[in-house]
């Protein structure tokens, strides 16, 4: 076995963390939606795909990537509000599988709509100029954009955490996650909280899609893979747990990055093996509450 220099390993580690950060954004949105509405959002990756296209449209209009990021979240968040309000609300209180099936229908229909509007071929999104360079930390060479992903995710997750922990709305969301009936009894319109929660969840998905867009360009069919990744991270981290989404996302990012480095052809399979392993050893996921699964 030949020696792999440690700085190459450090670089792979770094790539894995950057990839994991995208997964963290994706799955924390899924986790919020599941915790609050008890809905497994099959169209989660589809919303991420919409985020990538939103960033493409806004960047080609304004030329500014950061305006693109913010507007992607807002645009997709508003679309999410409409979806929840018109399509999902009528299904609450019925068979719990119906919302899953409905969002599945969306994940089949929406990519085709995007193909009609934007064509079959993916749309490239340029790296923002300030971040396109390379940063050298001693012998470890890091693309600037990946470092940006990590720092940006850190800021986003900390603000999300502060929002949920400290703000009034955040506290209402957490309370509704635990016991929506009680919150309703206290005179709060829970139905509106659900709409907001869904918008936040798909907004996070859009952020993941938008931030990934310069690396993989926006394609109509990118959504399914992202949904699948979010599922795997959720199973690994534990259903409905924000901490699980963070740790699970980073773990899966590292696993994918290192298998891609060591045995390229197994890179897509590796996360599913990881999931099977977790199911065997710790069925409720790393951070899952007992009994929720």
């Amino acid at each position: 076995m030949f020696e792999i220099p440690w700085n190459v390993i450090a670089m792979q580690f770094f790539f894995g963390i950057a990839l994991g950060c995208i997964f963290v954004l994706l799955s924390s949105g899924m986790s919020i939606i599941f915790g609050l509405l008890d809905v497994v959002n099959f169209a989660h990756g589809t919303f991420a795909m919409l985020g990538a296209y939103a960033v493409f449209v806004v960047v080609s209009l304004t030329g500014n990537f950061f305006i693109g990021l913010v507007s992607a979240v807002i645009i997709v968040g508003i679309i999410g509000m409409f979806v929840e309000f018109i399509l999902l609300k009528p299904l609450y209180g019925k068979d719990p599988l119906l919302p899953l099936l409905l969002t599945f229908g969306l994940s089949v229909a929406i990519p085709d709509l995007i193909k009609i509007i934007f064509g079959l071929i993916g749309k490239p999104v340029n790296y923002p100029e300030a971040l396109s360079g390379i940063i050298a930390l001693g012998p470890v060479i890091i693309p600037g954009y990946r470092l940006f992903i990590i720092l940006f995710t850190l800021v986003a997750i900390i603000s999300l955490w502060l929002f949920l922990k400290k703000s009034d709305l955040g506290m209402i969301i957490r309370a509704s996650t635990r016991d929506s009936l009680m919150v309703q009894t206290l005179g709060i319109n829970v139905s509106r909280i659900w709409t907001i929660g869904f918008a936040i969840g798909v907004g996070l998905a859009a952020l993941a899609g938008a931030i990934a867009a310069p690396m993989m360009s926006a394609t109509p069919d990118m959504g399914v893979d992202m949904t699948m990744t979010a599922f795997v991270v959720t199973v690994v981290g534990g259903l409905g747990s924000l901490g699980g989404a963070i740790v699970g996302g980073l773990l899966i990012g590292l696993v994918v990055a290192f298998t891609a480095f060591i045995a390229g052809e197994y890179s897509s399979v590796s996360m599913y093996f990881c999931m099977a392993l977790i199911l065997l050893l710790r069925p409720r996921g790393l951070f899952g509450e007992q009994g929720r699964e």
């Binding site: 497994v40 399509l87 009528p90 299904l91 019925k94 068979d95 719990p96 599988l97 119906l98 899953l100 099936l101 409905l102 599945f104 229908g105 969306l106 994940s107 089949v108 229909a109 929406i110 990519p111 085709d112 709509l113 193909k115 009609i116 399914v224 699948m228 599922f231 795997v232 959720t234 199973v235 259903l239 052809e265 197994y266 897509s268 399979v269 599913y272 093996f273 999931m275 099977a276 199911l279 065997l280 069925p283 699964e293």
Partner: protein
């Protein structure tokens, strides 16, 4: 009046009359006269797949979003046996049935205890695992993206199945057997248990039944149907496309079953027929048929969650109720 209404509810959930089973088989005898024979064959194959899926989703209430794993594994097992081992028709089909059943045992043991949505996610993830395995690490034997080609044409007792019409009637015989078996399963104590769980799992548990075990068996039986359909698909196409393992294959099955009416006896047959007919018709007009099919599916979930046969059965029950109360 009270007696009458309970009667109607019992009728609604009662297994279909024998006439329905024989009538359906009789109608299928003449299907190639109405639509093209290959399309008719495809409908039968997917109907077998659908019957098994309906047993799990419609009658047991377990949603598997990864049934492509069983269908595709059945297709590949049969295809590999035909291509590399020169296996006899029936040997290949048996291989195509056994492999998915073993897989179902494995997935069931790992995940069938989970609650509904969780099981749906896990089954989908396992199906993706198989898809990516066949795509790249195992491409030496599965031929990756090209699919498994060069499968010899099959013959049954020196009777070639290479022609569309003999193949159709061969598949029809198997469909008839499976239709009849499904009917018998639903009437058996086991079938009654499945439906009891779907209606109220807690109560069934309280009655002392091991719900996990019954759900497990329901999954394995369902894999039997899916594997059989997959193997027949290999015989029908003469090759195994990688898409047999793709998530959209699972999704298509879900859409067909919901469209036809989950938990109704003829639902899968009707759903498969209508879906494939729609798909064939719409794709003549536009390549973007998924937009239409997806939207129709969303509308059905919102407006007619019972699907075609479910809505029809409801209407019949309501009509009977009105007549009885007069």
């Amino acid at each position: 009046m009270v007696d009458n209404s309970t009667n109607t509810i019992q009728q609604l959930h009662a297994p279909p009359k024998p006439l329905v089973v024989y009538g359906a088989i009789f109608v299928l005898l003449f299907l190639p006269l109405v639509i093209s024979t290959p399309l008719a064959t495809e409908i039968l194959i997917w109907a077998i797949f659908g019957m098994g899926f309906n047993l799990l989703l419609g009658y047991t209430g377990v949603l598997s979003f990864g049934h492509a794993a069983y269908f595709g594994l059945g297709a590949y097992s049969a295809g590999l046996a035909f291509r590399y081992l020169d296996a006899h028709l029936f040997v290949g089909i048996v291989a195509g049935i056994l492999a998915p059943m073993i897989l179902a045992c494995f997935i069931g043991a790992l995940a069938i205890r989970k609650r509904g949505v969780y099981f749906a996610m896990i089954s989908l993830a396992f199906a993706q695992m198989l898809y990516f395995l066949a795509l790249s690490p195992l491409k030496e034997i599965t031929r990756g993206e090209d699919g498994l080609t060069h499968i010899p044409a099959m013959a049954l007792f020196s009777f070639s199945l290479g022609k569309p019409l003999p193949l159709y009637y061969f598949v029809l015989v198997i469909t008839a057997i499976m239709l009849y078996s499904t009917w018998r399963i639903l009437q058996s104590p086991f079938g009654k248990l499945l439906q009891a769980f779907r209606e109220n799992e807690e109560r069934a548990k309280a009655c002392g039944y091991n719900t996990t075990l019954v759900k497990f068996f329901s999954l394995v039986i369902s894999a039997f149907y899916a594997g059989l359909a997959g193997a027949l698909n290999t015989v029908y196409l003469g090759y195994v496309p990688l898409t047999t393992l793709f998530w959209l294959t699972s999704g298509t099955m879900v859409m067909m079953t919901i469209l036809g009416g989950k938990g109704t006896f003829l639902g899968p047959l009707v759903g498969v027929g209508v879906f494939l007919f729609l798909q064939n018709t719409i794709s003549l007009i536009t390549p973007r048929w998924e937009l239409f099919v997806g939207s129709i599916f969303v509308a059905i979930i919102l407006l007619f969650p019972g699907g075609i046969m479910g809505t029809v059965e409801e209407k019949i029950a309501a009509y009977r109720m009105r007549r009885a109360s007069k």
